[in-house]
Amino acid sequence: MRASFLKKIIIIDDSRTIRQQVSAALAPSGFEILEAEDGIDALYKITRNPDLALVICDVNMPRMGGLELLEKVAGTGERKSIPIIMLTTEGRADLIEKAKKAGAKGWIVKPFNPKLLLAAVTKVVNTPPQV
């Protein structure tokens, strides 16, 4: 029964280490963590999990990168209200601006501080979606 009250988050990164780091940072605070290893894998899982509270997404990944995924999720369809935070080694201002315009809620440059990640995630998932 308890599982139904957990906020569900998907972490999308081709690095298993990063996925595990994110899970270790968030799961103890009551978040249920799903994992995907690229944008295509993520699209499949996002479609099948309508109760997702947040997407955390890398930028440079094989097959489909994070900015392309962001445009697909945030730009169209019934999934556009899911907040998306980018978690990447990229820090370029033009890429950050592009993500912001496409609907991302935040940008974190790796390596991340687990406490700061948790604080950002908690803030974003508790912010009501804008209509």
């Binding site: 081709d14 280490t17 270790a24 080694t89 201002a93 790796k110």
Partner: protein, 183 residues
């Protein structure tokens, strides 16, 4: 290309320090022996309008295990070869990310490919086939870790020199570890 050398060294020192292993650059790099002590190499390619190339990290397996971010704390499972292999890819990704962000602050944009990790003997074949690699040896906990970079010019020397001489603008790239929430 002295500016790129300095950026690679600064980025490497910052990255290893971030994972709790302050490093020292060993000068001059001592050839041969360190290569034999490398078990794995991470490699990653980059390209841009001014130049393109690759960066690599070569390290003994034991050192990679000590840098592994989940090695301490509640994760009690032993770190296997698969984890080391995967972690080196990500470490290479984070190193090149730092390099690219420092260059972005000077207005130089790079597109980054996805990283890969290979057994060290495979890198020897790559080194033989590609242009000269600049080599930097770092000492971490009395163990040598080797960073290499090879850069091939696309634009002319003058254009590259002018770009690299541009003063860094801090807000042209977000810093590592920073969290920015929009709105």
């Amino acid at each position: 290309m002295q500016a790129i050398r300095e950026i690679v060294v600064q980025s490497s020192l910052a990255l290893f320090s971030c994972y709790g292993h302050p490093a020292q650059l060993v000068e001059p790099a001592e050839p041969q022996e360190e290569e034999e002590r490398c078990d794995w190499v991470g490699v990653m390619a980059f390209s841009g309008p001014l130049f393109q190339g690759m960066i690599s990290i070569g390290s003994p397996e034991a050192l990679l295990k000590s840098l592994y971010p989940l090695a301490s704390g509640s994760e009690s499972q032993p770190i296997g070869k698969a984890e080391v292999h995967e972690w080196l890819s990500e470490l290479t990704n984070q190193l090149l990310g730092r390099v690219a962000n420092m260059l972005a602050r000077r207005g130089v944009r790079l597109s980054l490919q996805t990283p890969a990790a290979l057994p060290a003997e495979v890198l020897k074949l790559v080194l033989e086939e590609s242009p000269p690699w600049e080599k930097f040896t770092f000492n971490l906990d009395s163990t040598s870790l080797i960073v290499r970079v090879n850069v091939r010019r696309i634009a002319d020397r003058m254009e590259i020199a002018q770009a690299l001489a541009t003063p860094a603008v801090s807000d042209a790239a977000q810093s590592e570890g920073d969290v920015v929430l929009f709105e």
